[in-house]
């Protein structure tokens, strides 16, 4: 089956910043992404878990973006502006996609 090179970017970010991140992506014409819920985690700012929350103040989500390799930098620039001052993690993996015309 015919596949094509692409990049898979995974951004773990505070839930309250989700809207700002996806808006920055859309503004950079990155229109394809998927948002996953996150149950908990641990990082430099300590451990947290969804069951310890009363408010949307401290939850996180994961935004996954599959993108053509040549558009990666545009995406990272847009994302970086939003995550920069916030806790969160950005990783990039090489991948192959079916139906490349979709990306």
């Amino acid at each position: 089956m015919q596949t094509h090179n692409a990049k898979r970017v995974e951004i773990t970010i505070e839930a309250i910043m989700q809207r700002r991140l996806t808006q920055a992506l859309l503004d950079a014409e990155v229109t394809g992404f998927t948002v996953l819920p996150v149950l908990g985690g641990s990082g430099r700012s300590g451990e947290w878990s969804r069951s310890g929350q009363v408010s949307r103040a401290t939850g996180m989500v994961q935004v996954i973006c599959i993108i053509r390799p040549e558009r990666l930098n545009t995406l990272l620039d847009a994302a970086f502006k939003v995550v920069n001052s916030h806790i969160g993690v950005v990783s990039v993996t090489d991948c192959q996609v079916l139906r490349a015309e979709r990306f």
């Binding site: 309250i16 700002r20 300590g46 069951s51 009363v54 103040a57 401290t58 001052s85 916030h86």
Partner: protein
Amino acid sequence: MSDIFSLAAQNLSSPIILSFALGALAALARSDLTIPEAAAKAMSIYLLFAIGFKGGVSVVDHGVDANLALALLTGALLSATLPLIAFGLLQIMTGLSRVDAAAVAAHYGSISIVTFVAASSVLEGSGIASEGYMVAVAAVMEAPAILSALWLVSSGGASGRMDKDLWREILLNGSIVLLIGAFVIGWISGQDGLRDIQSFIVSPFKGVLCLFLLDMGLVAGRGLRSAGANLRPGVLAFGALMPLVGCTFGLAAAWFLGLSLGGTVLLMVLSASASYIAVPAAMRVALPEANPSIYLTLSLGITFPFNLTLGIPLYLALAQAVIGP
């Protein structure tokens, strides 16, 4: 004086407080007891809807006091002023950075609606009436404190990130919209509406509040367990002192407005309580450098239980002493 103690004792042995204590103990003992997030959110929606609706209906019954507008304005002023006092106290009592102190201060200018609900429930249990529009005052007091805190930060040279989106998020946050919306619905549909949904929003109210406070206890206990040890004594002391300062301002404002005994207690409770929903979210966006575990632990782990157990009976006794029964 003995009255305060008997009221406090009665308050402490109510299922509501005991449920909170159960949650806190379970969390401190690291039990795996949890209330699903969706259930906790559903209960908070129920409580906001019920309290807003009942407030609206009672405004129909008793008419809008000429003081409504004045009460709203006073509420907004209290909310904007209290952070300045809280900030001053924090500077004196703690070594918190300017940003952390401002973020904490914002919480204490704003309000905790669950504390308000618990106080309403105590008043109702003691047969003390209050102005229905106090729920509107509660809604108005949510946001101004955030502005004061951002001003405190920027006047210190740094600056918070306040954008148009954040404005909308603060003013149209779910709790405010639901509280005000239910208030208006109650106002429009009046006693007829209340009759329709009475056995949903009135009868089971206290029971739902018990389970909700069980969850609050779990969350507060978990917060204390993980962050409590890092809080310095000065910070902890602030969490119990500031409510007393706040309630004094609330008492003065209520006296100025000529509120009833019940209304006075509620305004004291609003002033004494600290936000743990709207303000933390706003702070994460506007002041991401401020450490959330400080303000969340203080507000939810210290001030909330303090108000719930000792504060409410104390404010009631104070109000009775000043305003008369």
